[in-house]
């Protein structure tokens, strides 16, 4: 605030008793106030416009993404089926599908229904084969998702986003497939832990834990006749 303004201000609102505020002081000050308000509104207007434009663009993007996401979800579901995961699902009372590893273990051994066993066995083999080359897998996913989504052209941003999502989904599916295998293996570990003589004289705790893991995975492999994901 300049000196003159300060002075005018003081005059208007009191403080100095020796001089009263002049009309010029008042006008000058009001002008400055109006100008400031005007600027605020102008700025707000431009921001509003920009936001609106962005929202519109995002709406367009969202629509593409929704298509892509749907395609991704489908790809994930396909992979779950392919890897035999769905064959091990059971229907919960609330209608949701759940995976209960205990249901597939009896007397310390894997006990799958024949169809489920076949599906899980072939699925594990397929998963092992697919995840041997994750780069190729992601590429195949990308092509598949773009093709099934119906989106003709992807912006760079969308493409980058899709790649990230695919990477994420690929990893997620891998963890699911691996998780199922390991959940079953975990149930088999109990018997191994109850009879630790099988592990010989392993003294290191970590080495022992690894031995338990490896042995349980071996049992799964033997039971299903195919490789498991590392």
């Amino acid at each position: 605030m300049t000196e003159s303004n300060r002075t005018a201000f003081e005059r208007i609102f009191g403080g100095r008793n020796d001089r009263r505020a002049t009309t010029d002081d008042l006008q000058g000050l009001l002008l400055q106030i109006v100008f400031a308000l005007l600027m605020i509104f102008i700025i707000a207007y431009f921001v509003f416009v920009a936001e609106t434009k962005k929202e519109r663009e995002e709406q367009v993007l969202d629509l593409n993404r929704q298509k892509l996401v749907l395609a991704l979800e489908k790809a994930v579901e396909d992979r779950r089926i392919k890897y035999g995961l769905n064959a091990l699902m059971t229907q919960g009372t609330d209608g949701r599908r759940v995976f209960d590893a205990d249901a597939h273990i009896s007397d310390g051994a894997l006990n799958l229904a024949p169809a489920a066993k076949t599906a899980f066995s072939s699925g594990s083999a397929a998963a092992a084969a697919d995840y041997k080359d994750e780069e190729s897998l992601r590429r195949s996913w990308y092509d598949e998702v773009v093709a099934s989504s119906g989106v003709e052209a992807l912006t760079d941003e969308e493409s980058a986003w899709l790649e990230r999502e695919i990477s994420e989904r690929v990893e997620s599916v891998r963890l699911d497939a691996r998780g199922v295998q390991r959940a079953l293996a975990a149930r088999l570990q109990a018997a191994l832990i109850a009879n630790p003589a099988i592990f010989g004289d392993v003294r290191d705790a970590n080495a022992l834990a690894e031995a338990i893991k490896l042995k349980s995975l071996e049992l799964i492999k033997d039971a299903i006749g195919s490789e498991v994901l590392p």
Binding site: L85, R182, Q189, P196, A205, A209
Partner: protein
């Protein structure tokens, strides 16, 4: 849908974590199970109890209480180690505290089963280790050693040493201290005290007066102890024990002085005067009649003399300033057993033999004075008595009681009733026996002479009978002829026969001159025989008439001839020689070779010849 998909994905991938978690937790449980197994089997690592006991020995002093305390500690430590192991396992496997491992009752029971043996071993180790660190710088003083008995001293020292240690001492090490630290000290002190006592006995000192000797010995002992302090090991060095000064020193002084006294006693030499002995015997003959009683009297006299001589000698050997004290000391110990024994021994060994010789001489003198005729050999028994006694078969027994024989009573009572020394009496007995033996020899010699003159007298009688102018001798003539011939010959041979060594008594011309009655009787018998033989032709003129046994017996009955034979048995290198001697002449001899002929055969032959040829026995 996305949400459901997300939820499903979450449940599927949860297996990854579950897989890792189960394996990890399982590995942890296996590790802890192994740890628990090992703990149940072998217990905790060695040294845990030992270290605990050594760290706080005060809490484990008594063995029984230590066992209880260790038991609790053992279990608590096991739990602590178990928890520590569990933490380590969890840490290594990155598990959180939700994974719980329990130290079960079984684990505790298993450890308690192992505990007794573990405790025993580790208690022993702890005790042993503590024992190695026990040092003792304390020793009792000499006065303390003297004033307390072993038990009290040992207890005091153990307490002292235990109190000196930097930490409380285990109960077992109290016994260790007693046996290995205190006992050697007590033994050393005891040995040193004994050595000091013995030193007082053997230390050289010229002092004789007890007080001077005591001072000298004490000074020497102190010097000896000081010397040893410089040269001996510290553990063996002690000062002078008060008890040695108060008890051993006076004993040593007493013993040493009495030892000196004994040595002086043993050097005393007393001469025994025969005259003195004779005077004593004369003054109280009854008391000195028997050697035993006399010996008692003289032993007392000599003992007093020996004692006074030795006291004088020892006092003379002492320094001037010690004599009075020494004299007073010795006078108080005259009746000491040692002194008495030494005096008695010297008297017995040195003096009494001399006294015995002197007494013998006195007895000889007495015998000579009471029985001079027996001593100088001038006495001879009456002929009749000699004949009678010598003919008796119990002559020796009778002779022993010669004093009871009537004819000899005057001789026996020559002492006039005064007591006579027993040696003199024995001497008289021997002299009387000798006199009778002399008579026996005279009788035998006379009888031999009768025999020897038989032939000559017979010839003489015959020639007288055949002579024209001579008268035929009758019995009395013949007796006279025989008697004269015998007396003549006896007269010639008497002294030589009775005293062949020439030691004739002064009345030898009077002794055994006449013929003994038994000889005269023999002469009569021989005369009768001669008378008979006078009428018998000479052996070359007629056949010898064999004697009938009745005749020979009649002859032998008519001849009362005293025949004396001796059988001599001499063993030579090759055999045995048996001789039948008549007087000195061997009338039968038989020698046997001890390798071939038996000895009794020779004896039988000799005795047979004796009986048949000489005694004319049937």
């Amino acid at each position: 849908m996305i949400f459901a998909s997300l939820l499903l994905a979450f449940s599927l991938s949860a297996g990854n974590a579950e897989f890792d978690h189960v394996a990890t937790e399982g590995a942890a449980r296996i590790m802890m199970a192994r740890y628990a197994d090992q703990m149940r089997t072998t217990g905790l690592s060695a040294g845990i109890l030992k270290d605990a006991m050594l760290k706080n020995p005060g809490g484990f002093k008594a063995a029984a209480a230590a066992k209880d305390a260790c038991r609790e500690y053992y279990i608590a430590k096991a739990k602590e180690l178990f928890e520590h192991e569990a933490r380590e396992v969890r840490k290594r496997l990155s598990l959180d505290g939700s994974v719980v491992f329990e130290f079960t009752e079984n684990d505790e029971e298993a450890l308690l089963a192992l505990f007794p043996k573990v405790f025993e071993g580790e208690r022993k180790e702890a005790v042993s280790e503590q024992a190695k660190r026990i040092v003792a710088s304390t020793r009792p003083s000499e006065a303390e050693f003297d004033s307390k008995d072993d038990g009290a001293l040992r207890a005091a020292m153990v307490e002292r040493i235990a109190g000196e240690q930097s930490s409380p001492v285990f109960e077992e090490n109290i016994a260790y201290i007693s046996a290995n630290i205190v006992e050697p000290v007590i033994r050393s002190a005891r040995a040193e005290r004994k050595r000091q006592s013995e030193y007082l006995m053997r230390a050289k000192s010229d002092a004789l007066a007890p007080s001077k000797l005591s001072e000298d010995l004490k000074a020497r002992l102190e010097a000896n102890v000081d010397r040893r302090a410089k040269t001996e090991d510290v553990s063996e060095v002690w000062g002078v024990f008060p008890s040695v000064i108060s008890t051993s020193l006076p004993k040593a002084v007493e013993k040493r002085v009495l030892d000196r006294m004994e040595s002086f006693i043993s050097e005393v030499r007393l001469e025994v005067s025969v005259d003195a002995v004779a005077d004593a015997v004369q003054a109280d003959p009854a008391r000195h009649a028997t050697a035993r009683e006399s010996e008692k009297v003289f032993a007392g006299i000599f003992a007093s003399e020996v004692l006074s001589n030795s006291v004088a000698a020892i006092i003379a050997s002492a320094a001037e300033g010690e004599r009075e004290e020494l004299k007073e000391f010795l006078e108080g110990r005259m009746k000491d057993d040692r002194v008495s024994a030494a005096v008695a021994k010297l008297v017995r060994r040195e003096v009494m033999p001399k006294w015995k010789a002197a007494r013998q001489e006195v007895a000889e003198r007495m015998a000579k004075s009471v029985w001079p005729e027996l001593e100088d050999g001038t006495w001879a028994p009456p002929a009749d008595l000699a004949d009678e006694l010598l003919a008796r078969s119990d002559f020796a027994k009778v002779l022993k009681a010669w004093r009871e024989i009537g004819e000899l009573k005057p001789l026996a009572s020559a002492s006039g009733g005064k007591p006579v020394m027993e040696e003199a009496l024995v001497r008289a007995d021997n002299r009387v026996a000798l006199a009778f033996e002399l008579a026996r020899n005279a009788i035998a010699a006379q009888n031999r002479i009768v025999e020897s003159v038989h032939g000559a007298v017979l010839d003489s009688a015959r020639s007288k009978k055949e002579g024209f102018l001579s008268k035929t001798p009758v019995l009395n003539d013949i007796v006279q002829m025989l008697t004269e011939a015998t007396e003549t010959k006896w007269g010639e041979e008497r002294c030589k026969t009775l005293w062949p060594d020439g030691n004739e008594p002064k009345n030898s011309e009077e002794q055994h001159v006449s013929l003994y009655p038994s000889v005269r009787r023999k002469i009569e018998l021989v005369a009768r025989k001669i008378l008979e033989e006078m009428n018998i032709p000479k052996p070359e003129e007629q056949e010898p008439k064999p004697e009938t046994p009745e005749e020979s017996q009649e002859d032998s009955e008519t001849e009362e001839e005293l025949m004396e034979f001796t059988i001599s048995v001499t063993k030579t290198a090759s055999g045995v020689e048996v001789k039948l001697l008549k007087g000195k002449e061997a009338v039968v001899e038989r020698a046997v070779d001890s390798r071939f002929a038996p000895f009794d055969g020779a004896m039988r032959e000799v005795s047979k010849r004796l009986g048949k040829d000489f005694l004319k026995l049937p």
